[in-house]
C-alpha cells in the first residue's frame, strides 16, 4: 500500500503557514507598540520582509518534497519550527 503523502503534505503546509502567520502578527503588534522607536520599526519591517522570503522558499520546498515515509513529515515539522524560531529571534 502506498502512503498518501498528499495528506501529510497538506497537514505540514497548514501547520507551517499557521506558525508563520502567528509570527507576522507578532511583528505587526510590536511595530505598533514600539511605534515611536524608529529603530525597532525599521527592524520589524526588515524582519517581515525576511519572514516573507523564508515563507516563499519553504512553500516551494514543501511542494517539491517527496517521501514515502510518514516519519519524514513529522520530523520536518519540528525542524521547521526550530528554523522559524531562529529566523524570528529578536536578538539578531
Amino acid at each position: 500500500m502506498t502512503l498518501n503523502t498528499k495528506f501529510f503534505k497538506i497537514k505540514l503546509i497548514k501547520e507551517f503557514l499557521d506558525a508563520v502567520a502567528h509570527q507576522h502578527q507578532d511583528f505587526l503588534d510590536e511595530m505598533m507598540i514600539y511605534g515611536t522607536d524608529p529603530v525597532v520599526v525599521q527592524r520589524r519591517f526588515r524582519m517581515l520582509g525576511q519572514l516573507a522570503e523564508y515563507e516563499a522558499q519553504m512553500i516551494q520546498k514543501i511542494a517539491d518534497f517527496e517521501s514515502e515515509d510518514a516519519n519524514d513529515f513529522s520530523f520536518t515539522t519540528t525542524s521547521l519550527r526550530k528554523e522559524l524560531y531562529a529566523l524570528c529571534n529578536r536578538a539578531g
Binding site: 514543501i62 529566523l87 539578531g92
Partner: protein, 389 residues
C-alpha cells in the same frame, strides 16, 4: 586505537545535528540521544567521552573529537591539530604577540570579529599593540558588542586608519569582505570552558575538589573511572582536580567544533575554504602558555575571576577599569543568530561539511528524506563512518 583515514577522500569538519539522528537510523546504528549528544552502541570508549561531557555541562552538545587520536570514533573527523605535549613555556604577552605576528605575516586583510567579550577584546588588543599598519585590520562588530563593552568603541575610534564596520542590519547577509577572519574561538575551551550553570550547581570550590569524587557520584562505575585515568594521563600532566580535568577534556575533545560552526557564516563566499576563519586561541602558542599556568584560569573565588588574566592584558593597554573589574562571561548570541538567519535565508543548509570545503546538502533541506539523500549522494559518504566493534 587510531581510526583508519582514507587518504584520498576528505574527512568531516562538521555535521548538522538536526539531521544526524536520522542519518544514524538510516545506517542502522543503534544510538541513544542525551540532550544534544549521541551515545552510539559499539563505541564504548567514545561513549565514555560523552559521559564526561554530560558531567561537565548541563546542556552538552556536539560530538567529542579526540585530539589524542586514541579513541575509536563513530565518525572520521578531521583533527586540525593533533595533541602534542607542550615543551616550552611562554608568557601571555609573548604568546599573543607571536600569534598576532603569525597571522599578520599572511599579508592579507584581517577581519577581526569583535563581540565585546573577553576573548575577542584581548585578541583585538593584541592586534592593536603589534600591528604596524592598522589599515591591514578591519573590526567587525554589532550593537551587542557595544552592549557588552560600552566604552570600547569610542576607544577604537581613536586609532586612525582602523576600519570599523557594524555588521547589523543587512550587512552580514549581503556584504562579502575580502581577506581572512579572526575569531575568539578556542578562548573558552583552552580556559576550561567554565560555564555558569556548573558554578551555580556545584559552587566554585568544587572546581578544586578531586575529579574522581565528582565523576563517581555521577557514574559509579570503576571501569569508567579507570578509563578517565588513562585518558587524562595522555595530557602529560598530573590531573587531580575538577578544574584540571575540565581543562584537559575541553582542550582535547571540544575545541574544534565552535570554530567549525563559525565557518557556516562564509558558505556563500566565492573562495570559501576552512582556512579563511582563524580561531585565535586554538594554536600551539596559547597552549604553550596555558599548559603551565592552569592556576591562572580562575585565580579568585568569584565567577568574574575567570579569564581575569585576559582582561588584565586589555586593561594595561586601554585603561578601561569598569570592564576590567566587572566583566564576566556572557554568551554572545547575536552572532549565532546572524549565522542561523544567513544559512536559512541564503539557503545554505547542510548535512555535512568536509575538510576540503565541500558542503553536503540535498535540494530540499530542511525537508530531508532517505530517498532524496540516496539519489543525491548514494553511498559515497559511507566512508565517513566507522563500523562498531
Amino acid at each position: 586505537m587510531l581510526s583508519a583515514i582514507v587518504l584520498d577522500k576528505p574527512t568531516l569538519l562538521n555535521y548538522n545535528d538536526d539531521y544526524f539522528g536520522k542519518i544514524l537510523s538510516w545506517r542502522n546504528l543503534k544510538f541513544e540521544q542525551i540532550r544534544r549528544l549521541y551515545k552510539i552502541h559499539g563505541f564504548d570508549q567514545y561513549n565514555n567521552l560523552v559521559d564526561i561531557n554530560t558531567i561537565f555541562s548541563t546542556t552538552p552538545w556536539g560530538m567529542p573529537r579526540d585530539r589524542t587520536q586514541t579513541i575509536y570514533s563513530p565518525l572520521k573527523f578531521k583533527i586540525n591539530r593533533p595533541w602534542q605535549i607542550p615543551t616550552i613555556e611562554l608568557s601571555l604577552k609573548k604568546c599573543i604577540e607571536l600569534r598576532v605576528q603569525q597571522i599578520l605575516s599572511q599579508n592579507k586583510k584581517i577581519n577581526i570579529c569583535w563581540s565585546g567579550g573577553q576573548d575577542s577584546t584581548a585578541l583585538l588588543t593584541g592586534f592593536l599593540k603589534h600591528t604596524n599598519d592598522l589599515s591591514q585590520l578591519r573590526v567587525l562588530y554589532s550593537p551587542f558588542s557595544q552592549y557588552e563593552h560600552p566604552e570600547y568603541l569610542n576607544f577604537l575610534k581613536k586609532f586612525s586608519g582602523l576600519e570599523l564596520v557594524d555588521i547589523s542590519g543587512d550587512v552580514y547577509l549581503n556584504v562579502q569582505f575580502d581577506g581572512i577572519f579572526v575569531t575568539g574561538d578556542g578562548g573558552d575551551e583552552f580556559m576550561a570552558s567554565i560555564d555558569e550553570s556548573f558554578i551555580e550547581k556545584f559552587g566554585i570550590e568544587k572546581l578544586h575538589a578531586p575529579w574522581a569524587d565528582l565523576f563517581y557520584q555521577h557514574i559509579p562505575n570503576d571501569n569508567f573511572i579507570e578509563f578517565c585515568q588513562h585518558y587524562f594521563a595522555l595530557s602529560g600532566k598530573e590531573i587531580n582536580t575538577v578544574l584540571e580535568a575540565r581543562w584537559w577534556f575541553y582542550v582535547s575533545c571540544k575545541n574544534q567544533q565552535i570554530w567549525a560552526n563559525s565557518l557556516e557564516m562564509f558558505f556563500d563566499y566565492p573562495n570559501f575554504s576552512p582556512d579563511m576563519v582563524i580561531p585565535f586561541y586554538d594554536c600551539a602558542e596559547f597552549e604553550n602558555f596555558i599548559y603551565w599556568n592552569l592556576d591562572q584560569i580562575i585565580p579568585g573565588p568569584a565567577y568574574c575571576d575567570w579569564k581575569r588574566i585576559l582582561r588584565q592584558y586589555c586593561y594595561e593597554f586601554d585603561g578601561l577599569e569598569d570592564w576590567y573589574l566587572n566583566k564576566q562571561k556572557t554568551s554572545s548570541q547575536q552572532l549565532v543568530y546572524y549565522r542561523y538567519k544567513k544559512i536559512i535565508l541564503k539557503n545554505q543548509r547542510f548535512i555535512y561539511l568536509l575538510d576540503d570545503g565541500t558542503r553536503i546538502a540535498t535540494k530540499n533541506l530542511p525537508l530531508l528524506s532517505q530517498i532524496e539523500f540516496d539519489n543525491t549522494h548514494g553511498t559515497t559518504l559511507d566512508y565517513l563512518f566507522n563500523d562498531p566493534r
